[in-house]
Symmetry: D2
Subunit: 299 residues, 4 copies
Amino acid sequence: MELGVIGLGRMGQIVVDRALDAGHDVVAFDLSAEATAEAAEAGATAADSAADLCDRLGEEKRIWLMVPAGDPVDATLADLEPHVGEEDVIVDGGNSHFEASVRRAEEVDAAYLDCGTSGGPAGAHLGFSLMIGGPEWAYEAMVPVFDAVATGNAGHERMGPSGSGHYVKMIHNGVEYALMQTYGEGFELLANGRYDLDLEAVARTWNNGAVIRSWLLELCEEAFREEGNDLGDVADHVAGGSTGTWTVQEALEQETPVPLIYQALAERFGSRAPDEGRFSRRLANRLRYGFGRHDVKRE
Amino acid sequence: MELGVIGLGRMGQIVVDRALDAGHDVVAFDLSAEATAEAAEAGATAADSAADLCDRLGEEKRIWLMVPAGDPVDATLADLEPHVGEEDVIVDGGNSHFEASVRRAEEVDAAYLDCGTSGGPAGAHLGFSLMIGGPEWAYEAMVPVFDAVATGNAGHERMGPSGSGHYVKMIHNGVEYALMQTYGEGFELLANGRYDLDLEAVARTWNNGAVIRSWLLELCEEAFREEGNDLGDVADHVAGGSTGTWTVQEALEQETPVPLIYQALAERFGSRAPDEGRFSRRLANRLRYGFGRHDVKRE
Amino acid sequence: MELGVIGLGRMGQIVVDRALDAGHDVVAFDLSAEATAEAAEAGATAADSAADLCDRLGEEKRIWLMVPAGDPVDATLADLEPHVGEEDVIVDGGNSHFEASVRRAEEVDAAYLDCGTSGGPAGAHLGFSLMIGGPEWAYEAMVPVFDAVATGNAGHERMGPSGSGHYVKMIHNGVEYALMQTYGEGFELLANGRYDLDLEAVARTWNNGAVIRSWLLELCEEAFREEGNDLGDVADHVAGGSTGTWTVQEALEQETPVPLIYQALAERFGSRAPDEGRFSRRLANRLRYGFGRHDVKRE
Amino acid sequence: MELGVIGLGRMGQIVVDRALDAGHDVVAFDLSAEATAEAAEAGATAADSAADLCDRLGEEKRIWLMVPAGDPVDATLADLEPHVGEEDVIVDGGNSHFEASVRRAEEVDAAYLDCGTSGGPAGAHLGFSLMIGGPEWAYEAMVPVFDAVATGNAGHERMGPSGSGHYVKMIHNGVEYALMQTYGEGFELLANGRYDLDLEAVARTWNNGAVIRSWLLELCEEAFREEGNDLGDVADHVAGGSTGTWTVQEALEQETPVPLIYQALAERFGSRAPDEGRFSRRLANRLRYGFGRHDVKRE
């Protein structure tokens, strides 16, 4: 089938490549002419605007957006608006907040699918996991493309109505934070512990048959192989956090306790504390003097 | 090569089977004659005591213990003591505390390998992950058996001196607790959340290409398939906890923060609270009356 | 001076009483005629509507709202709107969200003070702690009343511009949750521990000179005295949670880790889990069967 | 009555002073002649050894040890051993582990009281809170001294048999850690938050009538007054931790969840992380590159 792809960053380019590989026709557009040219080189038809892309797609347009969450999605939808109608399908494959996707699904004339995409650039070869929300007919219409972009038929699913795809992806990411921090705690304890261990070998042994084997643990193994047993100059500074924050916010609304996910997020915040450190602990330091005349450590 | 196996529960029987499948000769003994007979049926030579097993093994004995951690290990070692010497190798494949393994390695005349074994009964087909501590020569001597019992050569490793195998396994289990609880939090939020989701389908989609894919997530998928979307009558009662407790105790000794692992353990304790509930929360309930005259909920 | 009080529940009545005791004149109104009559009996002038209350106050009205947070505040402000101008002062003494107070301060013609009020009904005798935000002149104009309603001059303070009073009160409440849960943890451990202790005596001994002495600990002492050492039929069910939720939400926005406050809130949510228990722990229970064939406890 | 005091550091000297003030006779000894002289100047009789102190006390000796926990207690008991019998009473007023106190109570011929002492140097004027374990007759015999050293009769209590005093004190300290960290979280959020607040004024306002008022909050007020609103050069480094560690260890043994106390302890450990930071978060930083090719922040 024919697919339009708007947004040709690392992830969008993978969508283009996998769709082409599966024999689909792709029309591609990015604000960067260079990115568009790259897609064209891979075999896509280049478009020089969202309008042009729509023109080239003809009727029953199928358009995949892979642009950054937030304003870029709304801006792209505004560009598409004069050119799409109710027989068309738009997929948002980015990390949008599910409530934004619900709103957009109502505002857009085309059928709107929110599609949580997991797997990252590594998905180029294996394919992604796609969590999709929106109208059933639109999902069905896109299945050939989803089959190509995902790991295959088992790697995508319609979760439910609009918003459900990004909802499931949001929680996926909250889980991801806590899994990463959990492995981190385990390796921190091994690194601080009583034996002089080869952490890459530990990770490799675990990845072969242990209960805790996983893709993230394979990435730990890779990290130790590439950075060394002490992680070299990798800083204690974990960036990101928006989808984890959304997960905790939703858990507060649902009054569902998620202490591990919360703690993983709090560790990120803690890793980004100002130079003078965490105020809470500085106060605790001083309070020990207050009641016990313990020495106050000072900078 | 020739291997003695003592302790023929579910896990011990797997050791027997995998060793036999790889072409090794096995002499097997269990306090239960029935279990010993089962191993004999599989192709092992039955022994009717630890002494008899030693007799049958001849010189340079290689003996794998798969008995419950604690006193049964010491009792078995006491039985073996008159029959083993420094050219022999004993492997403890159970979940012993690493400090007990260090002590036993010093007390036993034979070379002593502590071997953390992960994978559970599911390892019957795939093989286990084996984390091994103890003398290098003894590890090398056992490699043919480890190759058979593990997932293969990549599934076992000498971690370091005595105790290091069970040390790494202990921390593996602490990580395991937190991974399980993390997936639990994610699915709890999905179950309580805004969409009516098919949790097996969510797990299956995630297992195909998502960042958080893992063996434990495959077991989640299986759990929803077998128990239903609401987990049916599965109780909020998580048993076990000794290796997780050891992990936290060791982290306290090393002054290493492990808040996620701790919280996962605390959830187990909380799931086993008495009928009247958690005292801390009952007191908080009452304190709200104390300062604010809020209604006290009573049983 | 002359003060109007609208909202004569337990807290509003205390405002009336303390203002009268300090020699101020009070005009009082509540939607319940009974509550208004009670205030009149205490010495206030009864009004039969917000409009009537304004009439009776004359110029430079000083009006204290002690109505439930949310719509009742907006409804009362709507009633007052035709009757108040920029020389008047309205105090919101309830638990409004600070952002609602910022909005109201902009919408209302009168000067608007958001006033976090802590101390609860017990403040009747001692006076409250008042955390106030809004225009400085309005705060100064109200000082005689604040002196009366608070524990005295040290018990009230202008924190800053509009919203700051309710902001500080919000965080006060977050802290309150965690302090309560902390004492709860300590007494839970004492109750479960190795000695058969008289918890009231423990609390009393601590309240006399120990580092952790506090008013909340005095309330613990009272709780054990009145409910018994085992807290009798007090349920494991902690109600409330809105201000604690707001605190955590704000901490997420500020990227400030508050793990203890979060955990205290999560304990409340956990205490209100459905009858079948926490889904996360039910899944963990089942997963232990998945990898280890451990028995699944079932209801 | 007559009291011997061994160990004349800050806390021991306060015991001497308060006993003298209450009209008791005190014989004092410290390994430092200077400290002994200081006690003599305050009105105590100087002893030049533990033996000499025993000689001067005559029969039915009452001896208070205020020496550091651990070996110094055992060393002092060894010195006293030849000189004390079953009609004598020894009080250990330090922070010994309760199990050490149980052991000592069995080993020592004299009646042995373990006495948790809270209040710190500030207790010089107000008196301490004393939590006491051991034989009832010995407790009764010491009441006149306890009345003097504590805040008065309400400030001391026999908690139960040997060990119970230090047990209750241990848990007191665990609670103390979490209370301090909780106030720290609240003030951190205020310091990072939306308003430019005077934190000393916040603390002062809270201490006058608010639910969360406490002695620790008075110490917060003092800290901001003395260090400034931003705590100046006070470092993010919280020392200590032994009694909190014991509390968590005991909670693990009792399978009692204490997540807030644990987290407060973990914050201390975190504040003492090596220069390169927390390994767990460094690994999480690197993993984000692994799956998403996010930039790795490096030192």
